[in-house]
């Protein structure tokens, strides 16, 4: 979004964009374009929130979090900036990298591409909610054991994507892991280790092909 910011002009909020997009399809589907549009406008007007902050309640890691946020605030911003759950990271802020991945009723979603108001009433799990006290979840433990991370900035997103995968498919193949994580980017290049860790968390033992050979022993 931010590239539009240097161009002062009419503002298009994420919400109004979604609204237009959502209603647009319906409008095109009927001949009575204007009538339907009027009806929708009326229906929407009753439901429109904001632009001022509204009270919302998010269910994060099993606990209700009460917030006062503008309707245009994304779930990611609500978690990070308004609730202190900084595990999910903002990297692209446009659903391209997966660093903001959280679980919504067990399903992996980009929290940067969803409004906080829309996430109400669903169980949100962030990376902070996986471990039981000091005991890491199997996916977290596998990421540690296989060193499936370097700088760690993409890690919460990958951990959530793999967690969601293993819930849906407890015994994935390497290809399935790659597909499940195809919406996640890692810049440091922990790629092979991430796949290895996901398989390890699924109970598949994997072996590293690394060797350390003494130079002195070479001819």
């Amino acid at each position: 979004m931010s590239e539009f910011m240097s161009n002062p002009g009419p503002s298009i909020s994420r919400r109004s964009f979604l609204k237009t997009f959502g209603t647009g399809a319906a409008v095109a589907a009927t001949a009575q374009v204007e009538a339907v549009a009027r009806q929708l406008e009326k229906a929407n007007a009753e439901k429109v929130l904001g632009p001022d902050a509204v009270p919302i309640t998010l269910l994060v890691n099993g606990k209700p979090v009460k917030l006062q946020v503008e309707p245009r605030v994304t779930l990611l911003e609500a978690l990070r900036d308004h609730s202190g759950f900084t595990g999910a990271k903002e990297v692209c802020d446009r659903a391209a990298c997966g660093a903001c991945t959280v679980l919504l009723d067990g399903k992996a979603v980009y929290s940067c591409a969803m409004l906080a108001v829309e996430a109400q009433g669903q169980a949100i799990t962030t990376v902070e909610g996986l471990a039981q006290g000091d005991k890491l979840s199997p996916v977290q433990q596998a990421f540690v054991d296989d060193d499936a991370l370097m700088c760690g900035y993409c890690t919460p997103g990958f951990v959530m994507s793999v967690t969601a995968l293993l819930k849906a498919n407890p015994h994935p193949t390497a290809d399935e892991v790659e597909r499940a994580c195809s919406g996640n980017l890692c810049r440091c290049g922990a790629h092979p280790r991430i796949v290895q860790a996901a398989l390890r968390a699924a109970g598949v033992s994997t072996t590293s092909k690394t060797e350390v050979i003494s130079y002195a022993s070479l001819a």
């Binding site: 002062p8 446009r94 760690g152 810049r187 130079y215």
Partner: protein, 693 residues
């Protein structure tokens, strides 16, 4: 002279990354996660023009936006000639991101557009707009010459020529550049996403005209940098000034869009190379003309170091008759800076490509040609070992002889780097309860610095790495240098060795315990009484050294119908002196390969010559390698403990792109001589796409 202990338990082991649990649970607090009481959000207004004279910037309306607490100009007067799309103009701070977004929209900018140029080819035209009014776009060429080049070429049995180009590559650390800064009367506290806390402190104090003693910089966790995060940056200065005006802490992290435009990149190169050899393959003559762009920072060609266009040539080879002419071309685009192994990946790509062309001309196995000419003994052994592991003999076929529509090919290439250490200080604190804290003012970019510190300290004290509390990233700790040039491991390890060795000696002296290590540790520490033992140490000669090679072999499959290149396997052989942390060294090696794949196949900044804007400032259109793009990676480290510690973070990424490019050429029988090797370029090389170049 100090020496590493003979019996190493944790050094060289698979000891786990000590901060991995914090990173997988979200407990790790990066600069972007720090939220001091009352913090505000900060954002930057950038130029939407590639070049313009900014005459007035009005912040009045922005200041009126609800929730906005500060709005400042980059320059006092608001006047400025901007020279690229994305240059910083002003900044705002507010209670939320939304308040800042509204404020940025409300800023009024008056500007006169000026002619610009964003492409190298355009900038070379006589009629091109000048980026800098007082200098031509092309710098004065630097020429290095030795021997009698023209004569030598006429004596060669085989001469090959080629033109090779590499793109502008963007660093894209996932944590963007940025700071959280709190400026109060007591002083300035800055959480920086940086590779150099000391250089940020110096920059901040200078920029704000404060004594350095009043500036403290933290960087406990940082989301990588790859060479782009050394200084304060424009964004750091703006964050500090916003904090002062708002009288509150300000967090100003760049957006991904910002990150694409204004905080560095790897310069492009266009390399015209001519190489000649005797009939038996001995290199005799070499000639290079190279130019490229470092954006507006293209005023002078500087070798290696900090993001200049100039490349080391003829790279790893010694050719008796050599001429290299290099210059850089300014364009209206964001400036280059150091990027993981500055100038080496493009140097490797050009030189190793022409080597393979020479091998074809001589009808020689390209590996044999390299063994005949590589002057570095370690690399000779690496080539032989790597070839065996990779199965070079079985896999190598004459170029273009792979049957069917999906053709396979193999290629190889090599690296050289330094990775030596330098002055670093450290402190070991041994507490009466036996707990240990080791402090050092270094940074961990994700490379594993904390783990390196923990395993060294653990081996000296006879403890486990988990028992060492590693504290880094604070300018109040004993100083270390910036983390660049693969120097951190070799800088920090000897200082930790020194501090811990002296602490152990002192502990034994004070308590009378003859050997306080391991099982005696707690008993000895208890005898300290109430006060902990704090011992200072510093980098020592003899525990580290400099200078590595490194080779890589690549196997690819190229679909000649779609042009799609799949890297199937990379075998990497790398020397790195004493391998301190095997696990994190392995991760570094994979990391180098993956980044090299991006450079070879996907990454390229695309500028629009009509509007001067960058067309791919995001991750949908600037492609990074994903999980399914990773090949099988076989890693072999050559352990040379007698050399001490040497950094390897950079050499492991140098030859990847060159090896892949050679493998693609081997598969196809024709060469794609421009990186990245996109499907379109593959099809063009095959004569199947008449539209592309």
């Amino acid at each position: 002279m100090p020496a590493w202990p003979e019996n190493r338990v944790h050094i060289g082991s698979h000891a786990k990354r000590v901060d991995a649990p914090a990173k997988v649970t979200g407990a790790a607090k990066y600069t972007s996660d720090v939220q001091p009481e009352g913090w505000l959000y900060g954002m930057i207004l950038r130029s939407k023009w590639a070049k313009a004279k900014i005459t007035r910037i009005n912040l009045d309306q922005a200041r009126k936006i609800r929730g906005v607490k500060a709005a400042i100009l980059r320059d006092d007067t608001g006047e400025r000639t901007v020279r690229y799309y994305g240059e910083e103009l002003a900044a705002v701070a507010g209670v939320s991101k939304q308040a800042c977004l509204d404020a940025l929209r409300a800023i009024e900018v008056e500007a006169t557009e000026l002619p610009f140029v964003v492409n190298v080819e355009d900038a070379l035209e006589e009629s091109a707009a000048r980026v800098w009014e007082d200098a031509p776009n092309a710098s004065k060429p630097r020429v290095r010459e030795q021997g009698e080049v023209d004569k030598a070429f006429s004596d060669c049995a085989a001469v090959v020529e080629g033109f090779f180009s590499t793109p502008v590559q963007i660093h894209h650390p996932l944590e963007t550049h940025g700071n959280t800064i709190s400026w109060t009367e007591e002083g300035v506290t800055c959480w920086a996403s940086t590779q150099g806390i000391s250089s940020v402190r110096e920059g901040l104090a200078g920029h704000l005209q404060l004594p350095q003693s009043k500036v403290r910089v933290f960087s406990e966790f940082m989301g990588s940098g790859f060479g782009s995060k050394f200084g304060l940056g424009v964004e750091g200065g703006l964050a500090a000034r916003l904090s002062k005006e708002a009288q509150a802490p300000v967090k100003l992290m760049l957006t991904r869009f910002d990150e694409s435009l204004a905080v560095g990149n790897r310069p492009s190169t266009c390399q015209k190379i001519k190489l000649g050899a005797s009939a038996d393959g001995k290199l005799l003559a070499f000639e290079l003309e190279n130019y490229g762009t470092a954006g507006i920072g293209g005023g002078g060609a500087t070798e290696g170091g900090s993001g200049g266009v100039e490349i080391p040539a003829p790279y790893i080879y010694r050719v008796p008759n050599t001429r290299a002419k290099q210059f850089s071309i300014a364009v209206d685009a964001g400036p280059a800076c150091a990027f993981r192994a500055p100038s080496h990946p493009p140097a490797s790509f050009g030189m190793e490509s022409i080597m393979d062309e020479l091998a074809v001309k001589l009808d020689m196995d390209p590996l044999e040609l390299r063994l005949k000419n590589d002057p570095f003994e370690i690399r000779q052994k690496e080539y032989r070992l790597g070839a065996e592991r990779f199965g070079w003999k079985e896999k190598y076929r004459k170029p273009g002889s792979s049957p069917g529509p999906i053709k396979t090919g193999v290629g190889c290439a090599a690296a050289q780097w330094w990775g030596g250490g330098r002055g670093t200080q450290a402190e070991a604190q041994v507490n009466p309860d036996g707990s240990v804290e080791v402090r050092c003012g270094t940074q961990d970019l994700g490379t594993g610095t904390k783990t390196v510190i923990a395993v060294v300290a653990a081996d000296i004290f006879g403890l486990n790495p988990e028992q060492i509390h590693v504290r880094i990233g604070d300018t109040q700790f004993p100083p270390s240098g910036a983390s660049g040039g693969s120097t951190t491991a070799a800088s920090v390890s000897p200082a930790i060795y020194d501090a811990c060795t002296k602490a152990l000696q002192e502990l034994q002296k004070q308590t009378g315990v003859a050997d306080a290590r391991g099982e005696n540790w707690k008993v000895a520490c208890r005898k300290l009484g109430v006060n902990p033992l704090v011992v200072h140490g510093q980098w020592q000669e003899g525990l580290s050294s400099s200078g590595v090679g490194g080779v890589q072999f690549a196997e690819v499959a190229v679909d000649t119908d779609t042009g799609f290149v799949k890297v199937k396997k990379i075998t990497l052989v790398q020397d790195g002196g004493l391998i301190v942390s095997k696990l994190t060294a392995e991760s570094q090696a994979s990391s180098g390969v993956i980044m090299g794949i991006g450079y070879a196949l996907y990454e390229e900044r695309v500028m629009d010559r009509q509007t001067g804007v960058m067309l791919n400032p995001n991750f949908e259109t600037y492609k990074l390698a994903g999980l399914s793009d990773a090949p099988e990676i076989e890693i072999v480290f050559l352990d040379m403990p007698e050399r001490g510690v040497i950094g390897i973070g950079e050499p492991v990424t140098i030859p990847t792109a060159a090896a892949i490019a050679n493998a693609v050429a081997n598969a196809l029988g024709v060469r794609v001589s421009r990186l990245p090797i996109t499907p379109q370029r593959v099809l063009a090389a095959l004569g199947k796409d008449k539209l592309s170049s």
